[in-house]
């Protein structure tokens, strides 16, 4: 982990509630896709943890959804604004287990970390298929970005207004070597049940510190207690204990 000052390059809405922010600065603390950063916002006590969508040299891209006053304030930040950010948090995805035909399954704002992952897997010469789930056509973002990487991209919408009608699990292909997923917990559970291979899940939890100090985001796993912010957010399928 490193504490850095990053500067907003751009900040624009992709859909009604989802924004893309590009930040410039020292990104050396990040080593894997699926890691996250933790942004201090003026006027709010806790930092906001947000997964990294893409890393390109000294530019970081994050996508975030406006869900409360904090993200609402973030959405108003303009280019040039300097932010206090903890970089390089969490374990991230392990691409070494992917096999040749990894499947990426993302729902809503769970999709962003899969973009950086797809980029890394494609760079490793793998054939990536991405299933992107949304509620409705209006909420779709980053479909073209995934295609531009060279990934096969399947969109699913719950209301059928675009792509496959239904949930991401309704769009699962028959063959894949491994999977990576991130999204709301009901989706993760459905993927857990429907998946035919091993895979990695990225979890969300309300965090205090984001770097392992406060034990705010602990979960129970097959291999013991883990902190989502430190030993997570990515857990392997075989470790997961569903509690709720």
């Amino acid at each position: 982990m490193k504490q850095e000052k990053l500067t907003v390059l751009s900040n624009r809405p992709l859909t009604k509630g989802v924004y893309e922010m590009k930040l410039a600065g020292d990104t050396s603390a990040f080593s894997r896709p699926g890691q996250f950063l933790n942004i201090a916002l003026e006027g709010f006590y806790l930092r906001r943890p947000i997964s990294v969508c893409d890393l390109d040299g000294d530019t970081i891209t994050i996508l975030y959804k406006v869900v409360g006053h904090g993200t609402e304030a973030m959405s108003a930040y303009g280019p040039g604004k300097e932010l206090d950010i903890l970089c390089g948090l969490g374990n991230g995805y392990d691409t070494s287990k992917s096999g040749q035909n990894p499947l990426l399954i993302g729902g809503g704002v769970g999709i962003p970390p899969l973009y950086g992952l797809a980029k890394a897997l494609v760079a490793e010469g793998k054939h990536v298929t991405a299933i992107l789930g949304f509620n409705t056509a209006e909420e779709i973002f980053y479909e073209n970005e995934f295609r531009s990487l060279g990934a096969d991209c399947i969109v699913a919408t719950a209301d059928g207004s675009a792509g496959v009608r239904g949930f991401v699990t309704d769009a699962l292909p028959d063959n894949y070597s491994y999977f990576y997923t991130c999204g709301p917990e009901p989706m993760l559970k459905a993927v857990y049940r429907a998946s035919k291979t091993s895979g990695q899940f990225s979890f969300e939890e309300r965090m205090g510190c984001g770097f392992g100090a406060c034990m705010g985001c602990s979960c129970k796993t097959v291999t013991g207690y883990k902190r989502i912010c430190r030993e997570g957010p990515v857990l392997e399928k075989e470790e997961i204990l569903w509690e709720k």
């Binding site: 982990m1 504490q3 201090a40 709010f44 006590y45 806790l46 930092r47 904090g70 903890l86 939890e205 309300r206 965090m207 205090g208 510190c209 770097f211 392992g212 100090a213 406060c214 034990m215 705010g216 985001c217 602990s218 979960c219 129970k220 207690y225 430190r230 509690e243 709720k244």
Partner: protein, 303 residues
């Protein structure tokens, strides 16, 4: 440059800054960030007899100037603390550490304290009789002078290390509880633990925290903590570790003027991992600004 050292129950601290229990783990996460030997000491994660997972999540809720937590004493239990955490800590921290102890019965307090009494690395036992998160937990002991005295007597009987009793602010009269601890032989008191608080999510219309309520900490609690330290200082002779919302070197000085010998820093570590380092580094400037040559001279100076 002024003199920053203070004496806490017979042990010299190079400065009064002490990361508070539960916000600093067992130290080594922070040792990756900076040399934690610049701290006076720190109080490690509250330790119980058995390993505990704690409460279900969500355990955290944000507030306007602080946060609520309901961790519920997650810890690996005293055996693993001694077998695993202390040896790991030894590599990165070369000063006496403050061991924070929690318990659900007098026997548990006694057992955990007597186990930790044998550990050379441990300088002080900080006995938490005030965690509000565990239904059958320490809260009941710290809520009354009798309960506080009972734990104090019991742990004093099994350890030669200085015992600092950690007090809850969620009481009508914290002074009577501090005095009961002193009368029962406590070597110091630390205050305040978190304030019992709550938030509700307007979207779900349910409490944010799974456990519904939790411990409120952060800058919001500072004026209450300061008042209690001021009142307790006037009533007892044992040293006070002042805790509650301290985030800056100025807050440290204010807490010492109220009566604190050493000053705990809690929630600030969660939002600013370098908070304690920044405070230690800023203290000489603040001392200079306010004409303070020797920090230990100002303890209780506003009385």
């Amino acid at each position: 440059m002024g003199k920053m050292s203070v004496n806490l129950c017979g042990i010299e601290l190079s400065n009064p800054v002490i990361p508070a229990s539960g916000t600093f783990g067992y130290g080594y996460e922070f040792a990756e960030l900076y040399d934690i030997n610049i701290l006076g000491t720190f109080s490690f994660k509250g330790t119980t007899r058995e390993a505990r997972f704690g409460n279900p999540t969500p355990r955290i809720a944000e507030c306007r100037a602080g946060l609520i937590n309901a961790i519920g004493l997650q810890n690996p239990g005293v055996d693993r603390v001694i077998a695993e955490e202390l040896p790991k800590l030894k590599k990165v921290f070369h000063k006496p550490v403050m061991a924070n102890v929690s318990g659900f019965s007098l026997e548990e307090y006694v057992e955990v304290c007597s186990r930790l009494d044998r550990e050379e690395q441990v300088g002080w036992l900080e006995v938490n009789i005030s965690c509000p998160n565990v239904k059958k937990g320490g809260a009941s002991f710290g809520m009354t002078p009798e309960g506080a005295a009972a734990v104090t007597k019991a742990v004093k009987a099994v350890t030669k290390k200085p015992c600092i009793m950690k007090l809850t602010p969620n009481v009508t009269d914290i002074v009577s509880i501090a005095k009961a601890c002193e009368d029962a032989g406590a070597d110091g008191v630390s205050l305040i633990n978190t304030m019992y608080g709550m938030r509700i999510d307007l979207k779900t219309k349910r409490p944010v925290i799974a456990n519904r309520m939790g411990g409120y900490s952060g800058p919001a609690t500072f004026p209450v903590a300061l008042r209690m330290v001021y009142q307790v200082y006037a009533a007892v002779k044992i040293p006070i570790v002042g805790i509650g919302g301290v985030s800056t070197a100025e807050d440290v000085v204010e807490m010492m003027l109220a009566g604190a010998t050493a000053v705990g820093v809690g929630a600030a570590n969660c939002v600013e991992p370098f908070a304690c380092r920044n405070i230690v580094e800023d203290l000489p400037r603040v001392m200079d600004k306010y004409g303070i040559e020797n920090l230990s001279d100002i303890i209780g100076g506003a009385q």
